[in-house]
Amino acid sequence: MEKRKLRNKLFLLSVLALSATAALLLLVPLIRLMADAGVALLRSWGVLPGIWQVVGNTALVLLLVLLFTAPAALLITLWMYEALHGLRLYRVQRFLNGLSRVPAVLVGLLFHALLGGAARRSLWPTVALLAVMCLPFLVSRLDAALRAVPEKYERAGTALGGSRMAVLWMVLLPQALPGIVRALLRLAEKVLCEATAVLALLCAVTPDSLLAPELFRLTWLGREDASVLAFALAAGMIALRLAAERRWRSEGEEANCRYNWW
């Protein structure tokens, strides 16, 4: 009995020690980054106008990518819902999941072969590239959001006389809205994170382009103000993720119905 207790205490201590190590490993550099960013910001206040231009460009590219990708992804998700069932649906879903896990550098390489230096001259090839790259990711997310709606809702809709499409329009889409918004926010995250490798391959990492590529450029040049951008990017992404993870009112109601194990 005593031996079991001792083992349990040792286990708990090792879990706590490892957890503390993990938390410190991440927190210490982030706190140092925050301090460095504060100092750099105080030293060179003039860096701000440049940052706002980068933020503006990033917002524009994000908006354009969303405008291109979201409707196309929604249409493909509708087609998957309407036309695919059973094993075929499963295979398409697996294929899309695999496609969305392809490293950005391989996609960038393909576009490098196709476009050459065109992305350096205009914003549109970059937007088109990012839109195509993110399409499988968004389709698989939207599909997952639609299928996360409990099946009982669909059965209730069908029992009330609704056709498959009517149930989708009137029951499933409103219920899946939080998941759809979440998928769009995750798309914004993906664009912000993975644009750098692709733009670097297209030799399109120009001054004042997008947030992440600009951070890459400034760090590569050894500039001190890179810390401000790094901190801004980290804070922005955390805020975006927290917004994506936020529980919506309807979801909260659903959660209240579940049994709380603790």
């Binding site: 040792l10 697996r94 499409m165 955390i238």
Partner: protein
């Protein structure tokens, strides 16, 4: 209104199908065009690629060893953190999960900056510099995925503890056997992600010189860092990277299908409903 919505959905589904068909057609046309363009110089290209094979293998070994070490070192840390979050302080689970999720959203390029600025000056070896950056990068993602897995075992944990098991017995004899395939899947996914990281690692390696991973090798050979581009090396490294990613994805698929056969949960697979899952399992049985 109801009819109009229904019609709209039908038209949308038709347009979606057409879009998929057009996209596949475009991919086919581009593939054939690339093959035709490259056919003339294919033999010469193959010879030049073959001569670069030792370089490719060296970079593959560096990539695999750093990624595997990062996953092996970050997994116990992430496992302990997720265990502490889920089983030791369940009342604060929501907040802790949000914090972990937020930290996991930090882009890789920021970790590249952190690695170059704070870790590279203190670490002499390029291998350790890259490994530490990859650990930082994957730690919170790892924790988030393990937290999601652990949360699903609340009922089993509750049952084990009602029978008088201590937490270490619960974890070792209840949770671990149930979740081992999912642990493997998470670790493999993380391995694939670590192997695919590029720009951040390029930043860290700029402090050392002489070593490269497959992705940084591609970036350098494509002329991103201002060096002369080498098409043969790019093709070789892209091929090796694709092969590695495909291999890892195949092992993930095998692991998931093994779980299905052994009657485990279908989590980690594409989102499907119960009826769709039953229909698929029926079709699979018929095909066998």
């Amino acid at each position: 209104m109801k009819r109009a919505g229904e019609k709209l959905m039908r038209v949308g589904a038709f347009l979606g199908g057409t879009l998929v068909f057009l996209l596949l057609l475009c991919v086919g046309i581009v593939g054939v065009a690339l093959l035709l363009v490259e056919r003339a110089s294919a033999a010469g290209m193959l010879r030049s690629v073959w001569s670069l094979a030792p370089t490719g293998l060296r970079l593959t070994a560096f990539t695999l060893s750093t990624a595997a070490a990062a996953v092996a070192l970050s997994f116990p840390l992430a496992w302990a953190l997720s265990t502490a979050i889920v089983f030791l302080r369940p009342r604060r689970l929501q907040r802790a999960r949000s914090a972990v999720s937020g930290a996991s959203a930090i882009p890789a390029v920021v970790f590249g900056y952190l690695g170059l600025t704070y870790f590279a000056p203190a670490i002499d070896s390029a291998w350790w510099g890259v490994t530490v950056t990859l650990i930082l990068m994957s730690l919170m993602r790892h924790t988030l995925e393990l937290t999601r897995i652990h949360e699903r075992f609340y009922p089993a944990v509750e049952a084990a503890q009602s029978l008088g098991a201590y937490i270490y017995e619960t974890m070792l004899h209840t949770v671990f056997p149930l979740a081992r395939r999912e642990y493997l899947t998470v670790a493999l996914r993380m391995l694939a992600r670590c192997m695919g990281e590029g720009v951040a690692i390029l930043l860290v390696l700029s402090a050392y010189g002489g070593e490269d991973t497959l992705v940084t090798g591609i970036l350098r050979a494509a002329g991103v860092t201002g060096e002369e581009s080498n098409v043969g090396l790019v093709l070789l490294l892209a091929g090796l990277l694709t092969a590695l990613v495909l291999l890892v994805n195949a092992v993930i698929s095998l692991s998931l299908s093994g779980e299905r056969r052994s009657g485990g949960m279908d989590e980690g697979e594409p989102g499907q409903r119960e009826s769709e899952r039953e229909e698929r399992h029926g079709e699979e049985k018929t095909a066998q």
